[in-house]
């Protein structure tokens, strides 16, 4: 497919499957957003050759299961693969694995050459950065011991799986989504798990206090040892000069045995290449509404991108960096339009999910700036939702085992509708039935 004959290497046969000397689009980062960008471009009829390049030795895969089903062994690695090899071949997308780009030279027209640490060069007409984020490291004594692990990519998950059989005690550092998902998985696998959270409540600012408190109680009632306002002072080896971790010493001197320490304290966007290119960087690569970086030609998508807040009704100039599958997908679609010369804004409402034990959290919208909450609690059926309002209008909801609430709020937000707070308070009421088009005064 495609008409890229001019780009073919001299003497090479033209047609599908041949790799041109210069790719039409080089996508750095074989991630959720990188994959979606390639897929969306083909759906839009973009007919230039695409190179999808990643620094891992795996075919592009889905990350969410790494802390859950994959860790627990209920899905195989093959199930995490986004697309078959045949799909990529048929769609004239060249997958490049295991290449780490260290430097990019770029011209004003958007073309350039990317240099890999291996010495390979990747000339391109246009560039996309879908490089994501990396795990924030906890720099304390003993951080380099074997068994002190992070969970961001497939190799991290494989390293964790490899050690988990021999471990009895696990200390998870960080009470955010990754930490709680992994802690729940490891507890289910029979490990004695302790979660240390530096802050006064779980999940930081991603959810409101009611939801954080609900998760704290729910996990504790399921036997998880969660310690708030607690941080590790150092990791201790199994013997004097030993290589493997055996315990965690807390700031107050308490020593917890741990053959595995799993750290999940957030991520840092991978802005190194953007900085080297001289692009505007501020908590990620700064992009406009159309996913274009400050050079006007490079697109940056997903976890790495700092974009204008796409939620309808946001303050002008308000910016946000979202770390989610949904954002990777929707933002990639925006970038695909940009690269094909169209200007389409972000569609849909940001949403998130986190599965922890039998707690299925779904979040619709962004709760930033809420001034009122409505809690819907159905103890009998194990359902719990918090609805967030700003000036009488619904802006978000956290829903635990309550997909009807989640769907109702997500759909209302997408259509610009409201769910009046007073009517929503009764958990027996179906939110869908009280959704209204009218604006509050």
């Amino acid at each position: 497919m495609g008409t890229h004959a001019v780009e073919e290497a001299a003497g090479a046969p033209a047609g599908a499957g041949t790799v041109p000397t210069r790719t039409g689009l080089l996508i750095i980062g074989a991630s959720q957003s990188g994959v979606q960008l390639a897929v969306s471009l083909r759906a839009l009829g973009f007919d230039e050759h695409i190179t999808l390049l990643g620094d891992e030795d795996h075919r592009p895969y889905q990350r969410p299961a790494l802390s859950k089903e994959f860790l627990q062994g209920t899905v195989e690695s093959e199930s995490l693969i986004f697309r078959s090899n045949e799909y990529w071949a048929e769609h004239n997308v060249d997958l490049v694995k295991g290449e780490y780009i260290v430097r990019i030279e770029k011209e004003a027209d958007g073309s350039g050459v990317a240099h890999a640490s291996s010495g390979r060069e990747f000339p391109f007409k246009r560039l996309a950065l879908t490089v994501g984020a990396r795990a924030r490291k906890l720099e304390i004594d003993g951080g380099g011991l074997d068994g002190v692990l992070y969970l961001r990519n497939a190799d991290d998950a494989l390293a964790l799986k490899a050690r988990v059989g021999d471990a009895t005690d696990v200390v998870v550092i960080g009470g955010g989504f990754i930490g709680l998902e992994a802690a729940s998985s490891l507890q289910k696998m029979g490990k004695n798990v302790t979660v240390l959270e530096f802050g006064p409540r779980l999940v930081g600012r991603a959810v409101g206090e009611e939801t954080a408190e609900y998760f704290l109680q729910a996990h504790r009632s399921r036997g998880l040892d969660i310690r708030l306002n607690t941080s590790a002072a150092r990791f201790m080896p199994d013997a004097d000069g030993g290589k493997s971790v055996a315990a965690v010493e807390l700031q107050d001197g308490t020593v917890l045995p741990a053959q595995i320490v799993l750290i999940g304290i957030g991520v840092i966007p991978n802005t190194q290449l953007a900085e080297q290119l001289g692009l505007a960087v501020d908590n990620g690569v700064v992009v406009d509404r159309f996913a274009l970086a400050s050079d006007g030609t490079t697109v940056a998508v997903g976890d790495v991108a700092n974009m204008p807040n796409p939620v309808p009704g946001s303050e002008p100039g308000e910016r946000i960096r979202l770390e989610s599958v949904n954002n990777a997908i929707e933002h990639a679609k925006v970038a695909a339009y940009s690269l094909t010369g169209r200007r389409e804004e972000y569609a849909g409402i940001p949403w998130f999910w986190s599965n922890q034990s039998d707690l299925k959290l779904q979040i619709a919208g962004l709760c930033n700036g809420f001034d009122q909450t409505v809690v819907r609690r159905d103890e009998e059926r194990g359902k719990f939702s918090v609805l967030y309002y700003r000036q009488g209008r619904i802006i978000a909801a956290d829903c635990v085992n309550a997909p009807l609430d989640f769907m109702a709020v997500k759909n209302a937000l997408a259509k610009g509708q409201n769910i009046p707070a007073d009517a929503a308070a009764d958990p027996a009421t179906h939110l869908k039935t009280i959704t209204t088009d009218s604006q509050p005064h």
Partner: protein, 106 residues
């Protein structure tokens, strides 16, 4: 080999051979069948892998769980009696399934 016949909202048909144990959703996504989005990768969180199952195929499917049932109330195109989320449908040796994808999933 198990086979799924996907018909899109315009009537175009795509026949895809799958692997025993994979879901209908995975089979669709990995092969680029356009009518299935599956944002959440099969963890029953997004309801964007909605399909309408041909009536005579319904009996070969596993029963619907409560979570799937509730999620189906939030699909982009309203559910029908033959609606399922394709991430919950596993292929077996004998699967020969005819499904139609909705006009939109989001």
């Amino acid at each position: 080999m198990p086979t799924v016949h996907f018909t899109d909202a315009e009537g175009a048909v795509r026949d895809v051979e799958g692997n025993v144990g994979d879901s209908v959703m995975e089979t669709a996504v990995r092969n680029g069948v356009p009518g299935i989005v599956a944002e959440c990768g099969g963890s029953l969180s997004c309801a964007t892998c909605h399909v309408f199952v041909r009536e005579d195929c319904l009996s070969q499917l596993p029963p619907m769980g409560d979570m799937e049932d509730e999620m189906l109330y939030g699909t982009a195109v309203d559910r029908e009696d033959n609606s399922r989320l394709s991430c919950q449908l596993r292929l077996t040796d004998h699967t020969e399934l005819f499904v139609t994808t909705p006009e939109t999933q989001v």
